[in-house]
Structures are given as C-alpha cells and as structure tokens.
C-alpha cells in the first residue's frame, strides 16, 4: 500500500530536507547581505542624495510656484487651457485638504522612478528590438517582474538595504519598468520596413537609423509605455509606504489599520488626481508629437 501512495498524494520532499533548503538559502542570503549590504548601499547613495534633494526642493518651493510650474508644463505639452485649469484646481484642493506635503513627497518619488525607468528601460528595449536572443531572455524576466507579488521581492530588497527610500524606489522601478521596455521593443520592431530600407539604401549607419528613423517612428508607442509606467508607479505608492516610503501611501496604510474611512478616501483621491494629471499631460504630449501624421492619409 505504501508503495502506491504517490497515486493518491503528490510526491513531496520530506519536511527535513525542505527545512534544510530554506535554511541554507536564508543563511546564504543573510551572509551575502551582511557582506555586501553596505557596498550596495553605497552604490545607491548618489540616487538617495538626489531623491532627498528633490523632495526637499519640492517641499521648500512655495505652493503657488509649484502649482504655476506644473500648470505651465501641462500647458506647454498639451496647449489646452482646460487641462491647465484642472491642474491648478486639483493641486489647490489637495493643499486645502492638508495633503500638500505628502503629495510633494509622492510626486518626487514618482518622478525619480519614472526617470530611472525610462533611463534603464529604453536602452533595454532597444537592445531587445535589435536582437532576438536578448528578447528571448528579457521577456520571461519581464513576465516575472510583472506577476511576482511586490511583497515577495520586497523581502530581499529590505534585507539587503533596510527600510527606507531606496528599497522603495527599487520596488517601484521593478514593478513599473516592464511597460516601457516592452513597448520600446514593440515600437522599434513595428517601424515600417520600407522606411528603414530607404534609410539603409542612402547609406545611413546603424546609429543614424536608430536615432533618425527608428526612435522617432517608435515614439508614439514608447510614449504609451512611459504613460503606463507612470500609472504603475503611482499604484505602487501604498505598498512602498509599507517599507517606509513617505508620501500619500502612509495615511492610506494608517487608515486601513485604524479604519479611518475619510482619511483613506481623501488620500486615495489625491493619488487619483495625480494619476489623471500625469496621464493626460503625457498623452497630450505624445499626441502633439505626432502632428505630422495629420492631414490626408494617402497611405
């Protein structure tokens, strides 16, 4: 009977060996993080300095100047008075309800994360578009990054770097970077082969083709990726607050544990307002950068 037990029950590792494996991996990683933790922290120091500086800058700037700058940027990229007015009203309301400081903290971390995601993601996307081999390696990694629960990769990051801004930024970037990589890759691969062939026929070098043809023509798709990245970064704010990232996420977390409904709702709405503003502004900019496709389409 005992021999046929695998028919009714799935074969399992014995508890002992499972515990040994866990123990082995955990000690190895702890040793690793003790050994190299400081070095890796040192590596991220410039980023931390920048992050702190940027947050302080936003907090120190008078509120009306911040609103004016953001409304101005919104107008420059969209040429829409309505959108700019919406920006002014939303930010004023955020301040009026006492969420100004947290909003500035969240904004600073989102902007830095987005910037980092673009700086890392676009080159990776380009590399993927140029080589099928790179694509076949990176694609499953992206799948893991997008589906692995954030808490799972937060554990090693926190073990390595402790609680604070940097682990938060890393977690946000891991979660938010896949769209910009995927869509950069897709955008470049979808560039009209005829146009690319024409560039080659006129003797364009590989760099001239990338900068002069592929990237500009892929830009609408890349912009869609950046837009998605910003949205995903914002959605990570609450989770990041669990490892000590200050901002709009912390009051939300507090309201979950204490059942403060109104506090949660207000901060949640502030996150939504930020998301809508970022989304509309970046989309309007992407649309305006493709004006050349307007007019008659004679294909």
């Amino acid at each position: 009977m005992a021999d046929a037990s695998w028919l009714s029950e799935i074969p399992q590792l014995s508890r002992g060996s499972l515990r040994d494996i866990r123990k082995f991996l955990d000690t190895e990683y702890r040793d690793f993080s003790r050994e190299y933790g400081e070095m890796i922290e040192g590596f991220f120091d410039p980023l931390l300095t920048f992050l702190v500086w940027f947050e302080k800058l936003l907090l120190a700037t008078p509120w009306w100047l911040v609103i004016a700058i953001i409304a101005g940027l919104a107008y420059l990229s969209s040429r829409s008075w309505k959108l700019s007015l919406g920006v002014v009203i939303s930010f004023f309301m955020i301040g009026y309800f006492g969420m100004w400081d947290n909003t500035m903290r969240t904004m600073s971390i989102i902007l830095v994360c987005t910037f980092m995601a673009i700086a890392l993601g676009v080159p990776i996307g380009i590399a993927m578009a140029r080589s099928d081999r790179v694509q076949s390696v990176v694609t499953p990694l992206l799948d893991i990054m997008q589906t692995m629960p954030a808490f799972v990769y937060l554990i090693p990051v926190v073990m390595l770097l402790g609680i604070g801004k940097i682990p938060g930024v890393i977690a946000v970037i891991i979660y938010a970077i896949p769209p910009v990589i995927r869509l950069t890759n897709l955008g470049i691969r979808l560039v009209d082969k005829d146009v690319l062939e024409a560039a080659t026929a006129y003797g364009a070098s590989s760099m001239q083709r990338l900068v002069g043809v592929q990237l500009p023509l892929a830009m609408p798709t890349i912009m869609a990726g950046i837009n998605q990245t910003i949205m995903m970064a914002l959605s990570m704010v609450v989770i990041a607050s669990m490892i000590g990232v200050k901002g709009l996420g912390q009051p939300v977390l507090k309201s979950i544990t204490n059942q403060y409904f109104t506090l949660g709702l207000l901060n949640g709405l502030a996150i939504v307002a930020l998301a809508i503003i970022f989304d509309r502004v970046s989309q309007a900019y992407a649309k305006r950068s493709q004006r050349y496709l307007g007019g008659m389409d004679n294909g």
Binding site: D194, A201, Y202, A204, P216, L217, G294, G295, D297
Partner: protein
Amino acid sequence: MGESGKKAAATTLIKIEGLYKLFGNNPKKYMPLVHEGKSKDEILAETGHTLGLKDINLTINKGEIFVIMGLSGSGKSTLIRHFNRLIDPTEGVIEVEGTDVMKLGPKELEQFRRHKMSMVFQRFGLLPHKSVVDNVAYGLSIQGVSKAESKAKATEWLATVGLAGYEEQYPAQLSGGQQQRVGLARALCTDAEILLMDEAFSALDPLIRSEMQDQLIELQEKLHKTIIFITHDLDEALRIGDRIAILKDGEMVQQGEPEDILLNPADAYVEAFVRDVNRARALTVETVMKAPASRITADTIEEALKQMKGFKGDYGYHINDEGYQGVLTEETLQAAFEDDKKADLDSLQYEDLDAISQDAVLETVIPETLNAEYSLPVIDEEGQMTGQLSRQTLAEVLGNDDTSEDTAEEQKKS
C-alpha cells in the same frame, strides 16, 4: 531616348556575372543542387530554400536607362537590391566602375551607398516625421553636409520636380504622385550617378504614372544618369528603356533593345507579354520600314523611264543630291516623255505625297499610311530617303499574326 542611349553606350558602368540568390537558412549548402540545374520547385520541395535569382549576367552602360521587367515573383525587386547590397547574393560578382561591391567592408559600403547610388521605392519610403524638404535633404544629412547647404539644394530639387511651395508639408499631406516626386527629388539630391528605381511608378494611377514617366525622360535628357528601372509593365519598359531585360522565375529570359524584344521575342513567355503591348505607340517607323525600292535617281525622263521598267509598281520616288523630291507615276513620265524626252525631271508634276520621318512613332503615321495610294517614303533628319512604309507592312506589324498567337497559346496550355 533610344538615340541618347546608343551614343553613350561606350563605357560599361555596372557588371553582374553569375549572380545566384538562394533564400533560406543554409543557402551555401544547397548551391550544388542549383548548379545541377534543378528547378525552383524541386529545390523548394527538397530543401525548403527558395531560388530567388539564377545565373544573372548583365552589363549596364553609363548613361542609359536599363529596365528590368518581370511579373511579381520573378525576382526583379530582389535583383535591384543586389546593386547596393540591400540583399547579399549567395554567389556571383557585382562590379560598379570596376570595384567589386562584394568586397566592401561595412563602412565602405555605407560610403558607397551614400555617394554612388540612390534609390526610389515603390511604397515611397519617405520619413513620415520629417518635412518634405528634410526628406529630400535626407541623403545629404546622412553624408554630414551642413544643414543650410543641404536645405538649399533640396529646395532646388523640389522645384525641379514641380513641388516648389510644398517644403514645409509632411509626406502624409501629399498625394501619392506628389510623394513619389519627393522620392525622386530625394534620389536626385545626392548627385549619385546611379539611380535605382524599384517599381517607382507602379503604385500611381495611370495618368500620374505617364506624367511621371515623361518627367523622368525629360530629366534624364538633362542629367544623363545611369538608371536601373524595375517594372512589371511592358508599356512602361518600352517607353522609357534604352535596353530591357526580362526576368522569369529568377532567370533572365531576354535582354535587348525595346524593338528587339517587341519584334523578336525570345520565347513564348516574352511573346505572351509582348502581345498585349500597343505596338503602334511603342515602335518607330524606322524599326518596321522596308528598304527603299523604286528609287529614281536619274536626271532625265528617258533614263527615269528606263529605271522604272525594273520596278514592281507603276511609280517611283525621285531622289537627287538634296534627298527625296517626290513621287512620279509611270503615266506622268510617259506623258512627259512624248513632249520632251531630254527634259529635266524636276520640271514634272509630282504626285501629292509627303514623306514621313523615320523617328516618328507608328501611331502618328497610321492615317497618312492608310490614306496614301502608294507606300510612304521614309526620310531621315537630312531628308535622305531611308526606307518606305506600306499599308501592308503596317497591318502586319500592328495586327497579331495568327501563327505566333497559336504557338503562344499552345505553350500556355502545356
């Protein structure tokens, strides 16, 4: 067009020898099969490789328009991409001005493409995010020419192709014909000697297409570029080509001047092509006329009558040092002979019959030929009689004679 081509036909600019292209994962391995003479279908079935081009040999002369013609799938677009190595051959030699293009390294190849050849594409291949003038200047900007200089030159070329004032438009705002003019201007703007045109006019509607053909011919008269032109349209090939090569299933079927192809098709495939061509528009008088007979070279009536005895008909063409004078009938000569047999021929009454030029397109002389009682005399630019054109000849050339049609039909069936 034919004339200018022939005059410049002295120097070979491009030479292609033994060119093969086998598409697939491992073409080198299966080349022996190709050399064994297996057919395209056999090779595809056995190896999964597609035979794109088979043993192509070509020479293209400086200053001529060389047309490569074939139906879709005949390998013509593959062939043109070998000239600037957008596609690398599996085997064979490509020489341009004596340099072996296959031996160029990547950097040299870029330089070669920048300065030696430019290309016009069927689907235009314009950069949609750049304005029209920047598109035309694209070749120069790739070469690193300063912005001001390349823009000035591009503006000039845009004006040449008739698009002055469209500089700041984007390609999507132009019609197909206008877009292809931009494509043409872009190709001319680099001053490359060789112009590759891949079905450049095929995507345009017929009226615009013939307009563009006229413009190309007009430009070529000024620029004397070497143009390699791909088309699937024999009418277009005959209209602009100095020489034509016909491809079928990756093989060269026939190469020659337009008249050769039209009048002596190499096989049933070419013949089937040729049958639908409007010959009246494609051929000139010179190519179909018969050698001049019935020429009266005498000075006096007596001698003229003697000459006429030897003719088939009862008339002759009077020729003197100044060339063709007119038609004389036996009747007129007889009547005059009775008056004064030593009289000068010039004093006689000619029949009313104007000569036609040997360069005239057949279509333009059809009414005159049909209305005339006699064969029409054909003269060259100096007025010398070079041949004659009868109603019968015209009918034979323009009508499809039954025998050839039958054989072509049989070939098609088999």
